[in-house]
């Protein structure tokens, strides 16, 4: 797993944060297993996976609310596993925000500094600064239950940032916001992170969110690290069928490796063969819907791969239409077509005979 962990590493020298062979069991249930990962200073890092994959457990171990069953967590090279939560230089923004209902907005934000026994003047100054940072300068004296969902989220963020943590942990920070607000907040969060230069570690199950905000993403599956890389790499060059399928839409065609191509029941398709792949190994060709062309005639062009089928279903999505095309082996292939014409009428109808084609570099061959 060590090579996967360092893959796509952006920060060069000693990592800020290192998970070393972390495992966590709750009774017989294995939540996290053999997890090794480095996170660099100043990164916006996302832990992404379906619910129950262990990403929240990992975050809670980082904050100190859970103790790993095995392994070490190094912060600036020091093992912090034995350090209780209130002595760790990391702060967390909770999914429920966990704002103290009996304290005012300013009281909530000041809470962390009060624990350090900071002076009154310093606290007041820093609170004002934080309120300005999250663009709520006049809200200090409000009660928490007087705030809207978006405002609460900002207060929670300010509260977690006031101690200038080495790492800010965000547990599904936007799960409680509606779609439009979420999109705005994502960009605000990125701006904030650039401005402060603090390392952010976000846990999310929303792949779009992870792709938008993060510099690097660790995809988790059943407590294990499936892949860690920059968002574009994870999307374009997933390392397994599971990751390819979890991130975005994909059509997978099973076949056998051949010379510069993959041999499938639908024909022989040219593609780049992964290094170390042996001939006649089972492999899968992964095709993203937006990378395919759809035509009424077989397209010409020496290098192009092509396959024929009939239109089975059309899903209109506004900006694009998703076509499901039934191929000769009765499997379905998804194709996305941008709706560029003004009228938005479909170019093809159900049961039309069509040709799907793609250049060799548009497909990605997976061996597991």
């Amino acid at each position: 797993m060590a090579d996967a962990a360092t893959q796509g590493q952006t920060a060069g020298d000693t990592p800020l944060l290192r998970f070393e062979g972390i495992g966590k069991r709750f009774g017989p249930v294995v939540a996290v297993e053999a997890f090794t990962l480095d996170i660099g200073q100043g990164e916006f890092f996302a832990l992404l996976g379906p619910s129950g994959c262990g990403k929240t457990t990992l975050l809670r171990m980082l904050a100190g609310f859970e103790t790993p069953s095995e392994g070490r967590i190094l912060l600036d090279g020091d093992d912090i596993v034995a350090v209780p939560p209130h002595r760790r230089p990391v702060n967390m923004m909770f999914q429920s925000y966990a704002l103290f209902p009996h304290l005012s907005v300013a009281g909530n934000i000041a809470f962390g500094l009060r624990q350090e026994k900071a002076g009154k003047a310093e606290i007041a100054e820093r609170v004002t600064e934080m309120l300005a940072l999250v663009r709520m300068p006049d809200f200090g004296r409000r009660r928490v239950d007087q705030l809207s969902g978006g405002q609460r989220q900002r207060v929670a963020l300010a509260r977690a940032l006031i101690k200038r943590p080495r790492v800010l942990l965000l547990d599904e920070p936007m799960a409680a916001l509606d779609k439009k607000l979420r999109a705005e907040t994502q960009f605000e969060l990125m701006e904030l992170q650039r401005k402060l230069g603090t390392t952010f570690v976000i846990v999310t199950h929303d792949q779009d969110e992870a792709m938008i905000v993060a510099d690097r993403i660790a995809v988790m599956e059943h407590g294990r690290l499936a892949q860690v890389a920059a968002p574009s790499e994870i999307y374009e060059r997933p390392n397994s069928r599971w990751v390819a399928d979890f991130i975005g839409e994909v059509t997978l065609i099973e076949g056998m490796l051949a010379d510069g191509a993959i041999e499938t029941g639908l024909g022989r398709f040219r593609a780049a063969i992964p290094s170390g792949g042996k001939k006649r190994d089972t492999a899968w060709l992964a095709l993203r819907p937006e990378k395919l062309r759809i035509d009424a005639q077989r397209p010409t062009g020496g290098e192009l791969n092509a396959v024929a089928g009939t239109v089975f279903e059309i899903g209109y999505r506004g900006d694009m239409s998703i076509y499901k095309v039934r191929l000769a082996d009765r499997s379905l292939m998804k194709v996305a077509l941008a709706n560029t014409s003004a009228r938005g009428q479909a170019s093809f109808g159900i049961d039309d005979l069509v040709w799907l084609s793609w250049p060799p570099e548009a497909g990605w061959v997976l061996t597991r």
């Binding site: 609310f65 103790t67 209780p84 939560p85």
Partner: protein, 307 residues
Amino acid sequence: MSMGAKKGRRLGSTRLVLLIPYLWLALFFLAPFLIVLKISLSQTAIAQPPYVPALDWVAGWAGLRDFVAALSTDNYALLGSDWLYLVSYLKSLQVAAVSTAILLMIGYPIAYGIARLPRRLQPILVMLVILPFWTSFLIRVYAWINILQRDGLLNDVLMRLRVVDQPVAWLSSDAAIYIGMVYSYLPFMVLPLYATLEKVDETLLEAAADLGCPRWKTFWLVTLPLSLPGLAAGALLCFIPITGEFVIPDLLGGSDSMMIGQTLWMEFFANKDWPVASAIAVALLGLLLVPMLFYERLQQRSLEGGR
């Protein structure tokens, strides 16, 4: 799960939080039962305290052996052979069973009614059901004496309406006991029932109706089964204490047959027979052990399972 367990610093104060109530309950709740058990195996004596043997701690092992040898089960033999005790046990069970049945029949419609009334009224109605519980139990029983006594209000009304032409002796009868029990324990029946009925999702009833189930049948097939935990809790919350009730039968009931709580009281205060009183208590506890364990399981499940 517990954070405290791992961190040495917190262990001390956390321990104390458990230890103090634990020791208190062990000393003032558990230990007394062992003493009751011991005294129930002793003999009455004209002494202070009025029973033998007394455990002689100073004599050590030999003292303990003498003590055990002197214990007897005579008191229990007496409970089994004397009709007085058997009758009062049976009477207690009968009163508890009949009262609980009446409470169910009266309490269910009330709880159901509250749960069906508009949401904003419900907290007020619940408050109104709880309120009498905050006034003294004794006062509530006493209030009925005003009504039930020979020249009381009930006879007055009945005679004015010419339902009866002689005053009826309501007081000192089983009827008065049942009235007192039902009156005093009604909140204990209504509240747990309401708590479960209120949680029954309205859409479940609509779904049943949508699938062609008439209203009365929906009640039998959906509402009633879903309210069973509350029904069991309410019934046990009434049945168990009623069995050992003292005040209500003493003030409202007659002197012809006593409930077991009264018998215990009489043996203790009037006859000063502490060993027999203890034996009665142990036997009563044995009788109630199964329903009490059942209730504890319900209680634990509702408090701890609801996470």
